[in-house]
């Protein structure tokens, strides 16, 4: 399918039972391929020997597809009954279990409708009921909410979490939406170029990313390039930026003096002040641009030769509105600053 291009290499994941696990990554990162391999589609060969011992139909995994794949010629009831019919479950039990599954996704009363009479969100729920009705060990979901509008997506996210907790089913979820991954998952694997970049809880990924890629893809970050001045203490590192600033941050790996690095700090961790700050990380700047975003305001702060920082401030009655051209000081905590070795320059 991919010719000689390696879509996924050396991915090994341990997923706790009854947990919500997400594969997060940009398109082409191999997350769907990984999911399809778990599901048993496509062949996995080692030295030409097929090691995909179990075909998809014997893996006992429920799967919800991106396109829903609700059978258009069958009613809602027949769609949900499908996995039970192919397992030769007798009629009485079949009806009871289909009824329960439809109740779970709140589609009771829709039994005799055809898929084309349903909205996207309703079809989604049929696909979910169908994937759960045979009580699979694991539920696989491939960007299941991608086609829904924002409000409906938020609603379905809540529904999915409710159902997952209720059934204690293990979920492996694929998405490119980092917000969705953070809010829904117990643990997340960030994928890039067919490899897992970082596996951890949402808080670990957000607060302690292991690479600039994760710092950028999960949430957003300001990146400042520089050189290591001195490493002191466990992880605490002093960096001189190319713009001449000195700042402290936390390195996730040992660094030597003189090594080229990137410092990352999130926009909401930066604090604008007008009194010269005494903390270790601070700099002077001028506001270049103001973007009002409802809950918060984003400022672009020009630092002259040191580049530009994005600062995000919650809009509260107490918070002072700054305007373009105003000078200010920006300060932040070294603990909120991550230092990464530049790619291809790590030793």
């Amino acid at each position: 399918m991919f010719g000689s291009v390696v879509a996924v290499s050396d991915v090994s994941l341990t997923i706790a039972a009854a947990s919500f696990f997400t594969l997060l990554g940009p398109s082409g990162s191999g997350k769907t391929t990984t999911l399809m391999m778990v599901a048993g589609f496509g062949q996995i060969a080692i030295d030409g020997v097929d090691v995909t011992a179990l075909p998809p139909q014997k893996r006992d995994l429920g799967m919800v597809f991106q396109s829903y794949a609700v059978f258009p010629h069958l009613t809602v009831f027949e769609n949900v009954a499908f996995p039970l019919q192919v397992r030769k479950i007798p009629g009485g039990e079949l009806r009871r279990r289909v009824g329960e599954a439809l109740e779970l996704v709140r589609l009771t009363g829709y039994e005799r409708r055809l898929p084309r009479q349903l909205s996207g969100g309703e079809q989604q729920r049929v696909a979910l009921a169908r994937a759960l009705v045979f009580q699979p060990r694991v539920l696989l979901m491939d960007e299941p909410l991608g086609a829904l509008d924002k409000k409906l997506r938020a609603h379905m996210q809540g529904e999915l979490k409710r159902i997952q907790r209720h059934l204690h089913v293990t979920v492996i979820y694929v998405t490119h939406d980092q917000e969705e991954a953070l809010t829904m998952s117990d643990r997340v694997a960030v994928m890039r170029g067919g490899r897992t970049e970082q596996v951890g809880t949402p808080a670990e990924l957000y607060e302690a990313p292991v690479s600039p890629f994760v710092a950028d893809f999960v949430g957003e970050s300001n990146f400042i390039e520089g050189v290591v001045v001195a490493a002191s203490g466990p992880g605490r590192t002093l960096v001189r930026t190319d713009g001449g600033l000195e700042l402290w941050g936390i390195a996730s790996q040992p660094l030597r003096a003189g090594q080229r690095v990137v410092a990352a700090v999130r926009p909401e961790k930066l604090e604008p002040t007008n009194t010269p700050a005494a903390g270790p990380n601070c700099c002077k700047g001028v506001i270049e641009d103001v973007v009002y975003a409802g809950d918060a305001t984003r400022y672009s702060v020009g630092l002259g030769a040191a580049g530009t920082l994005t600062v995000k401030v919650q809009n509260r009655a107490a918070s002072r509105r700054l305007s373009s051209g105003e000078s200010l000081e920006v300060a932040w905590d070294p603990e909120d600053t991550r230092i990464f070795a530049r790619a291809g320059d790590d030793g």
Partner: protein
């Protein structure tokens, strides 16, 4: 659209009804060339045939009476329907797996296979029919092979009988079946089959419960096309059939060419037309085409 949303659009414009009428007029203009051609070269002659069938030096239903009084004509009509049914079923049996391959292989290969399927259309039907006569004769290639392989002690009678008619017609009509089926099959989202497997269906179950029902519009369309084309077949049964394999089109030709009984030929033609339409209606009811085609969309 809600009334509020529609209001600003309607300001300064004519009422919606007028716009619709103008649209209808524009469509009529675009349809006019096709309608005129159909009217002049199809509907008018057809009416002429209907009139001629009741015109025998004065209007009379004598020709129709003759058809229904003489058993042999009814027998021929029955035989025509029987042959058409057999050909349709064989086309379906042979065409379905072929169409499945065509619809599921890689696009490059599918293109080549489609060309191979359509290739026979590039030669005249008469040439193709004569070629089959060479192949199927007593000493033809097929019989020589069968005898040499020891599969049959003596050459099989494959020509100038119903077997010959069915082989020849199946060959000509198979592409219609295959192309109709393949176009429907290509529209079936492979995700449906993957979903079926992930839900526990074996390959056979996935085919029987998902692929086959979703391909029914193609089966219905292909079968209808082949059946209706079969009813009016002339050259192949005339050349490859025996003296008793007379189909209604051959009968009409005989009346026009030899007995010069045009009124009777017109009556036979009208009956064929009515029966074809009747077959279409029965079939339409049976298959509930409308519902199925909607379902595939």
């Amino acid at each position: 659209m809600t009334a509020d949303a529609a209001t600003p659009l309607a300001v300064g414009a004519e009422p919606a009804g007028a716009a619709e009428r103008r649209d209808a007029r524009r469509h009529l203009v675009l349809l006019l060339p096709a309608l005129l051609t159909l009217g002049a070269f199809f509907v008018y002659p057809l009416l002429g045939i209907l009139v001629r069938s009741v015109d025998k030096n004065g209007y009379t239903l004598e020709s129709y009476r003759q058809v229904f009084r003489t058993g042999v004509y009814l027998t021929v009509i029955g035989l025509t329907f029987r042959t058409a049914t057999i050909v349709t079923l064989i086309c379906l049996l042979v065409g379905y797996p072929l169409a499945y391959v065509l619809a599921t292989v890689r696009p490059r290969l599918a293109r080549w296979l489609t060309i191979i399927v359509v290739l026979p259309f590039l030669t005249s039907i008469i040439v193709r029919t004569y070629a089959w006569m060479v192949l199927l004769g007593r000493n033809g290639v097929v019989n020589q092979y069968l005898v040499a392989a020891g599969l049959t002690p003596a050459p099989l009678p494959l020509l100038y009988n119903q077997a010959g008619v069915v082989i020849g017609m199946t060959y000509v009509l198979l592409p219609f079946m295959v192309l109709t089926l393949a176009s429907v099959m290509r529209g079936i989202d492979p995700a449906f089959l993957r979903a079926a497997h992930s839900l526990g269906a074996s390959r056979l179950q996935a085919f029987r419960r998902v692929f086959l029902p979703l391909s029914i519009p193609g089966v219905a369309g292909g079968a209808l096309l082949v059946f209706i084309l079969s009813l009016g077949f002339y050259i192949t049964p005339a050349l490859m059939g025996g003296p008793s394999d007379v189909m209604i089109a051959m009968l009409i030709e005989r009346e026009v060419e030899f007995t010069l009984n045009w009124s009777f030929a017109s009556a036979l033609g009208s009956i064929l037309l009515v029966l074809t339409l009747a077959a279409f209606v029965v079939y339409y009811r049976l298959m509930r085409l409308e519902r199925l085609f909607e379902g595939a969309g």
